[in-house]
Symmetry: C2
Subunit: 598 residues, 2 copies
């Protein structure tokens, strides 16, 4: 049975040493996030995720959710009690607005906690995860009345939230959606239609469920310009603001799916359900994107999280399982065979996962901090730069960390040999769970198109130029440092490949847009390599400086950073050239066949 240990030491390294969190103590909420407080919160988060959530993960997968004939849904045994423990601990309110009962702490901190939660129990963590997205949308686009009506209970956790976008005939292409909203005399709307793949759509954890639903107001323009966003509570609130009459929305069925069985993936049927317009009519997509961006970062974190828990278990197995002898001579003469961690090919898998996870964690928290800055900084230039980084990095984190997260879960499973294929060891669940993160909240191909088709060109390429300048400058500053030179040389090579790819796109995608589409996934992964490589550059630099300064008892930890950085540059960064070669080959061979020739 798998275990989990929250990577607190590594999170603290990122927050304290890489991000130097203390610098921001003048920002709202950051003063409360002193190093001691951060360590205490992470310690508590470690305990609840390790002791309460993780032990329910495997059984939750086996048992799944059950729907009764009346449309009610029961979560797996233990989920309800765990949710209560989680809610009472105030974990859902960490970073939200104190005006509505939140603790106002940095989102960066909530993001770190979110990683632990998804690692311990991804299916469970989705219930509060979806709620957080709904809170973000109401916070950004709701009226004051809507905020005071819904946010306190959602932040407190006694109500949860959902996102209702997909319909049977439309997922990516929301312009096709058909769910309709008919204005009522009291200013509300009657919502009718069917939504599918609704995570946490119905369950027994909360007193109310606040559905955020995309629909088309009668007579609205066709396409994406006629879509509005509505709040549709499961129970319409009574005059006291308490859950009252059951609304016309029910879970019609649960999807039988590959993984995340502990989360209820619902077909939701809306039959003249009472809904309230949020934000402006026909501008629902913008409001939905607030949720989506939040959610996309969260999904990237899921990729990282499952990769990390899979890694931890693979390491344990590789230390305990004995099989064969080391190529460089017997390592465990007292045993009939050596532990398989002595074998280079096992190391290759473990080191690959490790190198991606630690840089992924750094990139996620680095980006979460940009999110905090974009909302909380007093300096307009800093807010803009932070926004630029967020916009650029959101599709990269979602697409790359979930693709790599899945690959890593598969590699961790491979370490187990045949046992990895057997349910009781838990590794195949990680693979099945990790798989969805590549698909939902915009399949990764859509993330790549968002990056190449939207984010690159925004504001004349301001964000990407700033990124190039920042990474380039880091390489330049450290090329003279003998210990850093192998790192910066490889990073610089990756950056050059990325810049060449960007140039190629500028020269070739305008006249022939298919060239952008054909390049997009490779470009996203090339970007991810450089972004992760930049994190390794930064982390290696810190390790070198601290080791030179005496390391303060942390030598072993820092030495691991140094070695893993080198591994990343030697083993992962060389992929950049293959991406560039593919990108520059263009769309011709890809698009040459007629559709019926496949």
């Amino acid at each position: 049975m798998p275990t989990y240990q929250a990577p607190i030491e590594d999170t603290l390294f990122v927050l304290n040493d890489l991000l130097r969190f203390e610098r921001y103590s003048n920002l709202p909420g950051f003063a409360d996030a002193s190093p001691d407080m951060v360590e205490a919160i992470l310690g508590e988060a470690g305990r609840i995720t390790e002791k309460v959530l993780q032990p329910l993960n495997q059984q939750g997968d086996r048992e799944g959710c059950r729907r009764a004939d009346d449309g009610s849904v029961t979560t797996p045994a233990g989920f309800k009690q765990a949710y209560e423990t989680w809610r009472e601990g105030g974990w859902g309110s960490l970073a939200f607005d104190p005006a509505y009962g939140g603790q106002g702490l940095p989102h960066t901190l909530a993001t770190a906690v979110g990683e632990y939660m998804s690692a311990a129990n991804m299916a469970f963590a989705m219930y509060p995860g979806l709620t957080a997205g709904a809170i973000a949308a109401i916070s950004s686009h709701g009226s004051d009345e809507q905020k005071s009506t819904y946010l306190p209970n959602m932040i407190e956790g006694s109500w949860t939230g959902t996102m209702n976008l997909t319909e049977p005939h439309c997922g990516t292409d929301l312009g096709l959606l058909r769910t309709k909203a008919v204005p009522q005399d009291d200013g509300s709307y009657a919502i009718t239609g069917q939504k599918i793949f609704i995570s946490a759509g119905e369950h027994d954890l909360a007193e109310n469920i606040i559905h955020l639903v995309l629909a088309r107001i009668e007579g609205a323009p066709e396409g994406v310009k006629g879509i509005s966003l509505f709040i549709v509570p499961k129970f319409v609130l009574d005059a006291q603001g308490k859950p009252g009459a059951r609304n016309g929305v029910v879970c019609g069925s649960l999807e039988e799916k590959m993984g995340i069985h502990g989360n209820a993936t619902c077909v939701m049927n809306y039959d003249e359900a009472t809904g309230y317009l949020i934000g402006e009519a026909h501008k629902g997509l913008r409001a939905m994107f607030t949720m989506m961006n939040e959610a996309r970062l969260g999904v990237g974190v899921q990729g990282l999280a499952v990769s990390d828990v899979a890694y931890q278990n693979a390491v344990t197995y590789a230390r305990e399982r004995t099989q064969g002898r080391s190529l460089s001579g017997v390592k465990a003469p007292d045993k009939s065979a050596d532990p398989i961690i002595v074998h280079p090919d096992i190391r290759r898998m473990l080191m690959t996962i490790r190198a991606i996870n630690e840089a992924g964690r750094a990139l996620v928290l680095w980006t979460a901090l940009k999110g905090d800055l974009s909302h909380r900084s007093a300096d307009a230039a800093e807010r803009q730069a932070a926004d630029d980084w967020m916009g650029l990095m959101t599709p990269v984190i979602k697409g790359v960390l979930t693709d790599k997260g899945f690959d890593n879960a598969v590699m961790a499973q491979q370490v187990y040999g045949g046992h990895g294929y057997i349910g009781e060891w838990g590794m195949e669940q990680f693979v099945r769970d990790a798989r969805i993160a590549q698909i939902y909240e915009g399949a990764n191909g859509i993330q790549a198109l968002d990056l190449v088709g939207r984010k690159l060109g925004l504001n004349g390429g301001r964000a990407i130029q700033a990124f190039f300048a920042e990474v380039g400058q880091f390489c330049e500053e450290n090329r003279g440092d003998e210990r850093m030179a192998p790192i910066t040389k490889a990073l610089k090579k990756g950056l050059n490949d990325l810049q060449q790819a960007t140039m190629w796109l500028m020269q070739n995608a305008m006249a022939k847009p298919d060239n952008a589409g054909a390049a997009s996934t490779d470009y996203m992964h090339l970007f991810g390599l450089v972004a992760l490589g930049y994190m390794w550059g930064r982390m290696a630099k810190i390790a070198e400086e601290k080791i030179a300064a005496g390391a303060n008892g942390k030598t072993a930890f820092l030495e691991k950073k140094r070695i893993t950085a080198r591994f990343f540059m030697e083993r992962l960064m060389p992929e950049s050239a293959a991406h560039l070669a593919r990108i520059s080959s263009g769309a011709d061979a890809m698009m040459a066949l007629e559709a019926d020739a496949f």
Copy 2:
């Protein structure tokens, strides 16, 4: 619900145009495999796999196998009848020795049929697949009496076979195995021990099950040099050679696993079961390797097969699902959106799968033909060259086609977006089924070690040198051909990278064996790229020649080969440089961490 169409046209292209099968009509059995006969057999194989096996695949996954308290196992509904249909059709006997009831046709042909079977229903195909391995072992190492006792019923299909290697504490490292064999007065042995992960270990399809079991004769040397191979029938044969008394071997439990639910993966308990030594005492591993090599090619074929059926369904979905508009302008103005096959990133996935599958099919059949030549050719030099190729290519086909097969199934699933994650669409089953092929019959890391540690150096590197010479000569011969030049240039670059990697290994692995282990998986995949690229070179050449000669009504088919070859060279071959860079980085960073530092 997924569908399947056997790729008969493509198989015929490989057999007739690439392999020029008719050249071999002087070999035993090949005369019966005239073009007409081959086409007829493949047509029939297409019918049975499409109409009988494929319709049982999804239900077989859902239902799985069931074990009763007495240890008997029931296969999913329909399997028994399908097995009867298959057996009565003589499909199990295609390529086996006519002296024991086989049809004596080329193994190459049986391999093509095996692909269709695994594509249609991988879990089902494993029952006869394991039998074929057991037949091969008995044919090669059994006494005449053993052959005449067991082979006729196994070839006819009324008895099936298994391979019993793995024990709870040993899989890869068979030297550790503990199952013991005690000599009995009648010359038989009493076999006692536990075997795990035994595919097709117990079921209701056959009248008898012939287990081939590795065990250690009492007093045998420790390690792999004390292992012997035994025949242990489920029912001991009576004086008439009919299944008689129940032997002391039972299925103790079925494994709950990630996929291939329709195949019974058994824990087998041997309690003084009667076994018969096959081949020499203490030389069981050699006999087992006969089965393993057979099985490893078969597993490579599974990777190809699942990849192909997943591809076919993804193509259908991509043609039918409409979402968004083409970047190069509306393609389906009569619809609210274009079919997603117009999007380059969807094409990228489909073309990648296609490029690997068609070259994979060519490589599998090319290698199967070498197998036939190694057994049937009258020319000793030809037999030796064929053997060399087989030895070299077996780990490559197993490791590369199953890694790529899994990746391809994942990509095909990705084409479906959210629907790919839902069971009813069948794509997630392909992913779960394909996963095992990377693990069993020697995890792919073991294949890579077999290639690098054993096969490369055999006979002074004779096999690899012959491969280099053959591919190099092909490039040389065609570099002047304007149409072929882009193909041969890319292939030559890949070959150069492979040769450099080989040179690096020669220079760096002797003094430091970890360098070989650290390079092995990348080396295997680099080898696979060049081998698949060579197949594309050959196929492109045929396409060019035939198109130039008028194409005989096949222009569309040949044009697809031409385009897909180009896609392979532009999009897949560039990976060779990344493999070389990783290989040449050596083992240092990989091995630097202490085991407890992970």
